[in-house]
């Protein structure tokens, strides 16, 4: 448990000190939100309708930032060797990395989302649901992304590849997240309960699959 918390803290610290931390992710998130109205035109009714989708896409893209360096730095300076030698289960290490990465990039997004959503003319009721779905959905995005980060241990010049590999698996999270908010915006035509429960289920599934697959990828890369 002590080692787990240490890795979480280390991940957050590294993200704050070397990658610019949550700030870069937030600015990127804000840029996505700002760019879309220029693309589709500043029609407030339209923006209110597609707003949740824009926020979710922004959250997805900012979660991908920094994933490729998540384990590569530890591999390069040798700390990954030390962690493996220390006998901590790799699954726990990956989970700790995911928790740290989420606190550094995911949590700030959840906090900032309602402010950014005002730019997109979202109603107060939709704002609450948006924060709730993001709070449950962004961990799933991080846990799926961690698999891609772990794959990058083997692939030296990954770059964009991590996004290509991770995006298909993030699509269900996006679908269920946006569907739950649509229920509030479009009225009783669509239900809130079912997509929301599916979103929770996706997060729980990612909680299991992410660490296991990530640990498998690291082991495969280091044999």
């Amino acid at each position: 448990m002590k080692a787990f918390l240490a890795i979480v803290r280390q991940t957050i610290t590294v993200s704050f000190r070397s990658g610019g931390g949550p700030l870069v992710g937030l600015i990127f998130f804000l840029s996505v939100v700002i760019v879309v109205p220029f693309g589709v035109g500043p029609d407030l009714n339209l923006l209110a309708r597609i707003g949740p989708a824009i926020i979710w896409i922004g959250a997805l893209l900012s979660t991908l930032l920094g994933l490729d360096r998540l384990f590569q730095d530890d591999r390069d300076d040798g700390s990954l060797d030390q962690i493996q030698l220390a006998g901590i289960p790799l699954e726990l290490v990956v989970l700790a990395k995911a928790v740290g990465h989420w606190i550094a990039t995911g949590l700030p997004l959840v906090v900032a989302a309602p402010i950014f959503a005002l730019l997109l003319n979202l109603s107060p009721a939709a704002l609450g649901i948006l924060v709730l779905t993001l709070l449950i959905g962004t961990p799933a995005l991080t846990l799926i992304g961690v698999i891609g980060g772990a794959l990058m241990v083997a692939i030296r010049r990954g770059g964009m590849l991590v996004a290509v590999l991770v995006l298909p698996f993030a699509i269900p999270v996006l679908i269920f997240g946006v569907m739950s908010i649509s229920a509030v915006i479009l009225g009783p035509a669509s239900s809130f309960g079912l997509p929301f429960m599916l979103l929770c289920a996706t997060t729980l599934l990612a909680l299991v699959v992410g660490p296991v697959a990530g640990a498998g990828a690291i082991r495969a890369a280091r044999e």
């Binding site: 698999i147 794959l151 083997a154 010049r157 290509v164 699509i171 495969a220 044999e223």
Partner: protein
């Protein structure tokens, strides 16, 4: 495990596959030619869809084969991770581009069918979306094989991603029943297909399958030979030094 153990020796695999390959090529050719005959002059147009129904002889087969390829790759991925089976690595690498081709063929024929029938080339229906994801996953796996230099490491990395992506296969298969949006459910085995259409459909399915086996074996043989060439080059360089 008997057969897989025997085939673990690449030399033995080369000798067996060399004997099987002409047979599978011949079967593929005969079945596809016969299927094409039944598909065009030998079967009537559909009373609702007209001539467009003839895409039924090339579209579901391609989609089915793309999914079969993925399942085969997932099994090979288990072989790579659990048993370190040397041929499983080769199969994974050889199958990915074939699967991508079948998936693309399925998407293109499906779009050509959708325009006259549904009135649009593309809808974000559950089946179409999940199948598009399958195509992208094939591309991602090909990218891994292209980026990772060491083939053994590439195989293990690709295996993990293949296994995680295997969740998509049941989603594709059951998507038409669960969400029942636009894409119609498969009616082939439920007896909803008129008997006129069945012979060419099954002939083409068999033809596609043997074509797949032939290309897969050919690509696996090429890969094994390529690795041998690489080893020989390395030893000759070391010998010179």
């Amino acid at each position: 495990m008997g057969i897989t153990n025997t085939l673990a020796n690449p030399t033995r695999f080369m000798s067996y596959s060399g004997k099987i390959l002409p047979v599978t090529w011949a079967l593929a050719l005969v079945m596809i030619l016969a299927g094409l005959y039944y598909a065009f002059p030998g079967s009537p147009p559909d009373y609702q869809m007209g001539e467009v129904v003839r895409l039924m002889y090339i579209h579901p087969q391609a989609a089915w084969l793309a999914m079969l390829t993925y399942v085969l790759m997932a099994i090979a991925a288990l072989g790579t991770i659990i048993w370190r089976h040397p041929l499983a690595d080769v199969l994974q690498k050889a199958a990915a581009p074939i699967g991508a081709c079948f998936a693309l063929l399925g998407l293109i024929t499906g779009m050509l069918w959708g325009q006259p029938t549904w009135g649009t080339y593309w809808v974000w229906d559950a089946r179409l979306t999940s199948f598009l994801i399958l195509f992208i996953m094939f591309l991602g796996l090909i990218a891994i094989w292209a980026t990772v230099d060491d083939p053994g490491r590439a195989a293990r990395i690709a295996a993990i991603l293949t296994l995680v992506g295997a969740v998509n296969i049941p989603i594709i298969y059951f998507s038409v029943q669960i969400w029942s949006t636009l894409h119609q459910p498969q009616g082939l085995l439920q007896g909803q297909t008129d008997e006129h259409f069945l012979p060419p459909m099954f002939l083409m399915l068999g033809g596609y399958t043997f074509l797949f086996i032939s290309i897969l074996l050919l690509r696996m043989r090429t890969e094994i030979l390529g690795r041998r060439v690489r080893t020989m080059q390395l030893t000759s360089v070391t010998a010179e030094a």
